[in-house]
Amino acid sequence: MKILVPVKRVVDFNVKVRVKSDQTGVELANVKMSMNPFDEIAIEEAIRLKEAGKGEEIIVVSIGPVQARETIRTGLAMGGDRGILVKWDAEAEPLAVAKLLKAIVDEESPDLVIMGKQAIDDDCNQTGQMLAQMLGWAQGTFASEITVGDGSLNVTREIDGGLETIEIKMPAVVTTDLRLNEPRYASLPNIMKAKRKEIAEKTPEDYGVDMTPRLTILKVEEPAGRQAGIKVESVAELVEKLREEGVI
C-alpha cells in the first residue's frame, strides 16, 4: 500500500502570534515555524501502518515556500520515504491545495491519503473533504483510530457526543484528530538518513493548477483582550451576575 501524506509549514503552536500593524494578516517574519501538529500525527500513522507491514511507501508532500522543504525533511526524518515540494510563496487556499493534491494523487496513485483534519494557522478543515470529493474517494474524517481491513478501512471518528466507527472502501482519504496517536521524536540517525532521501521540486504550473485566491481578506484583528474580573461575595451574587450577563 502506498500512502501519501500532505504536510504544511505553519507558525509553531508555542508562538504567541501578533497581528500585522496593517491588519492584513499575522506577523510571520522571524517567528518559529514547524510542521502542522495534525500532519505530524498523519505521518506517524503512516509510519505505524508501514511498520505493521501494511504500507510500502510513504510520500510526504508539501505546498509552500522553499523552507517547506525542511518540513518535508522533518517528515522524512520521522520515517517518510521521499518527498514532493510544490513551490508556492503566496497564500494557498484549501481549494487550490486540494486541486494540487488531486493532480499528485493522479500521478502517484496511492491507496491512501492521510492528512491533518486542519492546519492550526487558518483552521479551515476543508482540504481533506474537498480532495476526497474531487477524487470520488471515500473519506474518514477526524480519525482517532484506523484499522486496515481487506480493501477497506475501519475509521473511528471523533464526533459531537462520542465516537463513530465507519467502514470505508479504499482508496480513501483519512483526516487525523489529536487522539489518533502520539507522534515520535525524530531520531538522530534518521535525521542523518533523511538528508539523502529524494525531494522532487515542482510548481503549480507543472500540474496546471490555478492558485489565484478566491477569498479576499478584509481585515485581521486581535481577539478582544480579557476584561479584568470581579470578586463576588456569595453564591447568590454569582448567580445574579450570571443572570445579568445573560449566561444562564
Binding site: A29, R73, Y185, S187, L188, M192, A194, K195
Partner: protein, 595 residues
C-alpha cells in the same frame, strides 16, 4: 511558568554567521554538518528538550533520588526520558562511526548540551559523564577495552562515572587511598571508598562503567602514584553480554542543595575487578584529558540555567504590573506599568542577556576548536586549536558557572518575592546552578590552573594564540567609525589585561603567592575581556547583516546589547586590575588565628 524555548535563532547565528562552521566542510565531522542538517538536528533536539526533559525537571527536583535495597531509583519519568534520549541517538552525536556514533562535530553536541542543561540539568549529568568517559576511553583505552565498552556508551545502553573524590580528599588528589591489587594478566582488584560520585548508581542503564583513580602497591605517594582503572558494575563476558555483578556498590546517596534528580553516591569498592586504562602512574593525566570536555560542559551548565532564568524573567517582566515608569506612565490604560519599564529591572535583564549571548558565542568558539584540535588535517592548526582549548577551558568552566549563579539569582530577583516561592521554578535554577562552581575542580582551582600553568605554559604560547587575534581584530576594525564604540573600550581593557598578565607572570616567578592571590580576579578579568572581544565581533557581524537583512530587530538587538556590555559590564575590569595589583599582602597579612 516553567517554560523554556530553545534559543535556536541565536544558536544558528553563532554557528553559521559568527563562526561560519561551513568553512570547515572539508574536515571530517563538518562534512555532514551542513546548515540545513544542523538546523534539523537542533530543532529535533530542542523539541526533545522542551517536551521530554523540561516537564520532569521540577518533579525530579521535588522527588529526588532514592536508595532502595542498595539500588538507586531515579525520580518518576527519568527512565522513560532517558530511553527516548538514548534511542533517539542523542548520546552518539559526536562519537566515532567506528563505534556506532554519528561522527558529528563536538560543537553541535555542545549546542544540544546547552539546551539539555537549560531544560533539565540533573538529567543531563548522566549522559554528560558518559560522553566524557567515551572520550577518555577512546584516547587511552586498549583496543580490547574500546571494543567492549565504547559501543554501549555510544548507544547509551550503558553509562559512566568518574570516581576521584574520597572523604579526606577532594582537590588534593595526591591523598587518594583507594587501592588496586594486581590479580591476573589484565585484571586488578580495587578496594576503597569514593564519595560524591555522580550517577554512581541508578536505574537508567543496564550497566555502569566507573573510571576510578587508585593506587597500585608500592606506588609513590602523591599524584604520580595514581593509575586509572575501569570498573564495570556488571562484568562483561567476552561475547559482550553482561556477566555477574562486580564488587562495587552504592553505600548511600547525598541529600543536597540542588540537582536532586542526579544521584550523588558513596561508592564502595570491595575487591572489585578493574582494568588498567593507560600507563601505570599516568592515571591523573588520563583523567584530566577527560576533564577538558567535561569542564566545558560544566561551563555550559551555567549558561544553560542562565538562559532559562533569562527567558522566564523576561516573560515575567513584561507581564508583571507594578509601579509607574519614573518618567511617567507608559501604559496609562492599565493599573500600573509592566516592570520592564524600570531601569533596575532592565539592568538585570540586560546583564543576563549580555552574558548569555556572549557566553554562548565564546563557548561554541572553544568547542569548535575542540573539533579542530582533533580533526584538522594540518598538524600546526591542530596544535593551535589544542592550545586555545587548554587556555580557555578553566576560563569557560569557572566564569560561566560564576555568572550562571549570578544570572539565575538576578532572574529570581526580577520575580521579587515570587521568585523565592518554589512554584515559579526560579529558586530551583539558583540551587541547581550552585554546584557548577564546585565540581570538576572548584573555581578557585581553575583560576590557579590559569595563572600558574596555562598562561606561562610554553613561554606564553597558549596566551599568544588568544591575544594575537584580538590585537589583529582591533587594528583591523579601528578605522570603521561605527565600530569604534566597541573597539575602543575593548582595546583599553585588553591593554590592561596584557599589562596585568605581564605583572602576574613576573611577580609570580619571584613569589608564587602573588600569582595565587591574583588568580580568581585574574580569571574574571580574562573572561570579561574574552567576552568583550566576542561582543565586538558580534557587533561587526550584526552591522554587516543589518544593512541587507530583513531581521533588523534581531541584529539591532545584538548591537544594543554589545553596547550595554562595553559600557556597563566591561568596566568591571578596572576594579579587578586595581585589586590584582595590590598584591598578596592585603590577603596574607592577617594571622590565621585572627580570623
Amino acid at each position: 511558568m516553567t517554560t523554556y524555548s530553545a534559543p535556536l535563532r541565536d544558536i544558528s547565528f553563532v554557528l553559521h554567521e559568527l563562526l561560519d562552521i561551513g568553512q570547515f566542510s572539508h574536515i571530517a565531522p563538518f562534512k555532514a554538518a551542513t546548515p540545513t542538517v544542523v538546523e534539523a538536528i537542533l530543532k529535533a533536539a530542542a523539541r526533545l528538550c522542551e517536551q521530554v526533559l523540561l516537564p520532569i525537571n521540577r518533579s525530579g527536583d521535588e522527588e529526588g533520588c532514592r536508595l532502595e535495597n542498595g539500588v538507586v531509583r531515579t525520580p518518576s519519568g527519568f527512565r522513560e526520558a532517558y530511553q527516548t534520549f538514548a534511542e533517539g541517538g542523542w548520546t552518539s552525536l559526536a562519537c566515532d562511526p567506528a563505534f556506532g556514533g554519528q561522527g558529528l562535530p563536538e560543537v553541535v553536541n555542545l549546542a544540544v548540551a546547552e539546551m539539555a542543561c537549560s531544560s533539565n540539568l540533573a538529567f543531563y549529568t548522566y549522559p554528560a559523564l558518559s560522553h566524557a568517559a567515551y572520550n577518555l576511553i577512546g584516547t587511552h583505552g586498549s583496543d580490547e577495552v574500546k571494543r567492549a565498552f565504547l559501543p554501549r556508551l555510544v548507544d547509551g545502553r550503558w553509562s559512566a562515572t568518574m570516581c576521584l573524590t574520597e572523604p579526606h580528599c577532594g582537590t588534593d588528589l595526591g591523598l587518594i587511598r583507594t587501592k588496586a591489587q594486581p590479580e591476573s594478566e589484565v585484571g586488578y582488584k580495587l578496594s576503597g571508598t569514593k564519595i560524591f560520585v555522580t550517577g554512581g548508581d541508578h536505574d537508567l542503564t543496564e550497566n555502569i562503567v566507573h573510571l576510578v583513580l587508585a593506587r597500585l602497591p608500592q606506588a609513590p605517594p602523591g599524584t604520580t602514584g595514581l593509575s586509572l582503572f575501569l570498573v564495570p558494575k556488571y562484568l562483561v563476558n567476552s561475547n559482550g553480554s553482561l556477566g555477574p555483578r562486580n564488587g562495587v556498590s552504592c553505600g548511600s546517596i547525598e541529600k543536597k542543595m540542588g540537582i536532586n534528580a542526579s544521584a550523588t553516591c558513596v561508592m564502595n569498592f570491595d575487591g572489585a575487578t578493574g582494568y588498567l586504562i593507560g600507563k601505570k602512574g599516568r592515571g591523573l593525566h588520563c583523567m584530566l584529558s577527560m576533564m577538558d570536555i567535561a569542564r566545558l560542559t560544566v561551563g555550559l551548565q551555567g549558561l544553560g540555567l542562565a538562559e532559562t532564568a533569562y527567558q522566564r524573567a523576561r516573560a515575567y517582566a513584561r507581564e508583571r504590573l507594578q509601579g509607574r515608569a519614573i518618567t511617567g506612565a507608559q501604559c496609562p490604560d492599565r493599573q500600573a506599568d509592566p516592570i520592564i519599564v524600570h531601569a533596575d529591572v532592565r539592568r538585570m535583564l540586560l546583564t543576563m542577556k549580555a552574558y548569555n549571548e556572549g557566553a554562548r558565542a565564546l563557548a561554541y568558539w572553544v568547542a569548535l576548536h575542540v573539533d579542530l584540535s582533533r580533526q584538522h588535517p594540518d598538524p600546526e592548526a591542530r596544535q593551535e586549536a589544542e592550545d586555545l582549548v587548554q587556555l580557555m577551558t578553566p576560563v569557560v568552566k569557572s566564569f560561566f558557572t560564576d555568572y550562571g549563579f549570578e544570572a539565575t539569582n538576578l532572574g529570581l530577583q526580577i520575580f521579587g518575592g515570587h521568585g523565592y516561592i518554589r512554584e515559579h521554578g526560579m529558586e530551583q535554577l539558583v540551587r541547581d546552578a550552585r554546584v557548577g562552581q564546585l565540581y570538576e575542580g572548584t573555581n578557585g582551582i581553575q583560576a590557579l590552573d590559569l595563572v600558574r600553568r596555562k598562561i606561562v605554559k610554553k613561554s606564553g604560547r597558549l596566551l599568544r594564540r588568544f591575544f594575537d587575534p584580538i590585537d589583529r581584530f582591533i587594528n583591523e576594525q579601528k578605522n570603521y567609525s561605527r565600530m569604534r564604540e566597541f573597539t575602543l573600550p575593548l582595546a583599553q581593557a585588553f591593554a590592561k589585561l596584557q599589562q596585568v598578565t605581564a605583572w602576574v607572570v613576573e611577580q609570580g616567578a619571584k613569589d608564587p603567592q602573588q600569582a595565587a592571590a591574583a588568580a580568581s580576579d585574574y580569571l574574571r578579568l580574562f573572561a570579561l575581556v574574552a567576552l568583550g572581544s566576542t561582543w565586538a565581533k558580534i557587533a561587526k557581524v550584526s552591522y554587516a547583516a543589518l544593512d541587507n537583512a530583513g531581521e533588523k530587530r534581531f541584529y539591532e538587538g545584538k548591537i544594543i546589547t554589545a553596547r550595554f556590555y562595553m559600557r556597563r559590564l566591561l568596566p568591571q575590569t578596572s576594579s579587578l586590575v586595581r585589586a590584582i595589583r595590590s598584591g598578596s599582602r592585603p590577603i596574607m597579612e592577617l594571622d590565621a588565628e585572627a580570623f
